[in-house]
């Protein structure tokens, strides 16, 4: 499975929302994501894709839309 599909799966599981229709929407502004969900995302990235992201790498403004998250993960994978 490619990175994009996996990240979307993780996000859908995590938020209970299908985010694939709004790839540039800010997940934090709309309340879909919060700090808790961010940590869950980082842990899932680690277990499902082997991508290690330390908490201090998580600058919220760089991770606030599905597209940005996918781009970040692709850069780190």
């Amino acid at each position: 499975m490619d990175i994009k599909a996996t990240v979307l799966d993780i996000l859908n599981d995590l938020t209970g929302n299908d985010v694939s229709g709004a790839m540039d929407d800010n997940l934090f502004d709309s309340g879909i994501m919060d700090s808790m969900a961010s940590v869950q995302l980082l842990l899932s990235l680690q277990s499902e894709l082997g991508v290690n992201v330390p908490v201090s790498e998580f600058e919220r403004s760089e991770w606030d839309t599905p597209n940005k998250i996918i781009a970040k993960v692709e850069a780190l994978a």
């Binding site: 209970g16 309340g31 919060d34 700090s35 808790m36 961010s38 940590v39 869950q40 980082l42 842990l43 330390p54 908490v55 201090s56 790498e57 998580f58």
Partner: protein, 403 residues
């Protein structure tokens, strides 16, 4: 020799204007003189920590040397090693002076600690953050001179905003182009003037004129249920207004001065009184502190709890961590029953808030959402916050326990 409280009086601002003028001209022509900036910083640090406050100055120098040794030593160690216990030990050592300063008044009958100085908290936040990012490997090129500039950046030394090492370094190492700098200058000057209005007009009115009267009236109106009275309720709103205008005013001075120096120090307040819930309130109130707590305590604790599967449910993890996080914030304000209760209050408020948000998400169809509910949410949040500030103010301590 005279000592000045930062941004405390017109003379301080006059000196600030004179000292910053050459710096502004330099930045307009694309130049940053490190030497001049350092001299200005030292001058204002001496104004704040010299003269009759010289003992604080000595405490500051010793403290800075201590934190430099710790952060530098850890950065050198971290290049080739990464032991967990050593990292925890270093963090404990880094916060030890602050802990002593905070605990001393509680065990020594209000006596202040000798090692304390104005701004010790805010410097500790910066040092700990530097250490944590070094451990994560996101801060790789630790530099003692940059660290000193970051710690001792005089506009924000006494009460923040709490910047981040890497963000500060990027600004400090570069010179904004003329258009960008003109924009910063314009903003910076506007911030200073809004700050004047907040701090010297509004906070003066609420804090210096109105508050003592209401406090006296509240003390004289004791005797009812829990000694609650109309003047006490008035005091609650007055104190909240004073707290906001005083601290937001100071923060505007600090951010404004930073902007004039070509450093985009992050903002501390973003219209907190229009927050629709407590969670959003903490994204708008004392932002650099709450984000520091979020990034360096909350998220790290949650990460640790989840990795070690301490709690079964994610919601339990979130709730427990909310309480711990806000309790630490309460303790940080000082070891008194009212600061700790204030922290606990906000921890519980966040838990309730999250539970409600989850419930609302599940029952989206059946819960009304309109103009009225939005206004009601803002009204409720503002009042809950004011009530928490009534606890925080410590007046209940006087009302209930002062004979």
């Amino acid at each position: 020799m005279l000592t000045f409280e930062p941004y405390g009086n017109p003379t301080y601002f006059a000196l600030l204007g004179v000292a910053l003028l050459p710096l502004m001209i330099g930045l307009l022509y694309g130049k940053r003189s490190r030497l001049y900036e350092t001299l200005v910083s030292i001058f204002f640090l001496v104004l704040t920590f010299g003269g009759s406050k010289w003992t604080q100055g000595v405490a500051l120098i010793i403290y800075i040397l201590y934190e430099v040794v710790l952060t530098w030593g850890y950065a050198v160690y971290r290049r080739n090693h990464n032991s967990g216990p050593l990292f925890y030990l270093m963090v404990i050592l880094a916060i030890a002076p602050l802990t002593i300063v905070k605990v001393t008044p509680a065990v020594e009958n209000g006596q202040a600690s000798l090692i304390g100085f104005l701004g010790v908290s805010y410097l500790t936040f910066r040092a700990v953050q530097t250490m944590m990012e070094t451990r994560d490997g996101t801060l790789k090129n630790y530099n003692i001179m940059t660290f000193l500039q970051f710690m001792l950046f005089f506009p924000t030394i006494s009460s923040g905003p709490i910047d981040r090492y890497r963000r500060f370094e990027a600004d400090y190492r570069s010179v904004p182009d003329r258009d960008k700098y003109l924009g910063m200058l314009q903003k910076g000057i506007r911030y200073l003037f809004v700050g004047f209005m907040y701090k010297f007009i509004l906070a003066y009115y609420f804090g210096t004129i109105l508050m003592p009267k209401l406090q006296l009236m509240a003390m004289h109106s004791r005797g009812g249920f829990l000694d609650i009275s109309w003047p006490l309720i008035g005091y609650m709103y007055c104190y909240s207004a004073d707290l906001f205008f005083d601290f937001a005013g100071y923060s505007l001075f600090a951010v404004g001065t930073s902007y004039i120096m070509g450093i985009a120090t992050p903002m501390n307040f973003n219209q907190p009184w229009r927050s629709p819930n407590i969670k959003d309130f903490w994204n708008r109130w004392h932002i650099t502190l709450s984000f520091w707590f979020r990034d360096f305590i909350y998220m790290r604790l949650v990460f640790w709890f989840m990795k070690h599967k301490v709690f079964k449910k994610p919601t339990t993890t979130a709730n427990v961590t909310y309480i711990i996080n806000m309790l630490i914030m309460g303790f940080w304000h000082g070891v008194t029953w009212y600061y700790i209760t204030y922290g606990l209050f906000h921890g519980v408020a966040l838990v309730v808030n999250d539970t409600w948000l989850r419930y609302k998400k599940k029952h989206r169809q059946s819960i009304p959402h309109n103009k009225f509910t939005q206004v009601f949410a803002i009204f409720l949040t503002a009042n809950l916050v004011c009530f928490s500030f009534l606890i925080f103010s410590g007046i209940l301590d006087k009302i209930w326990f002062l004979k």
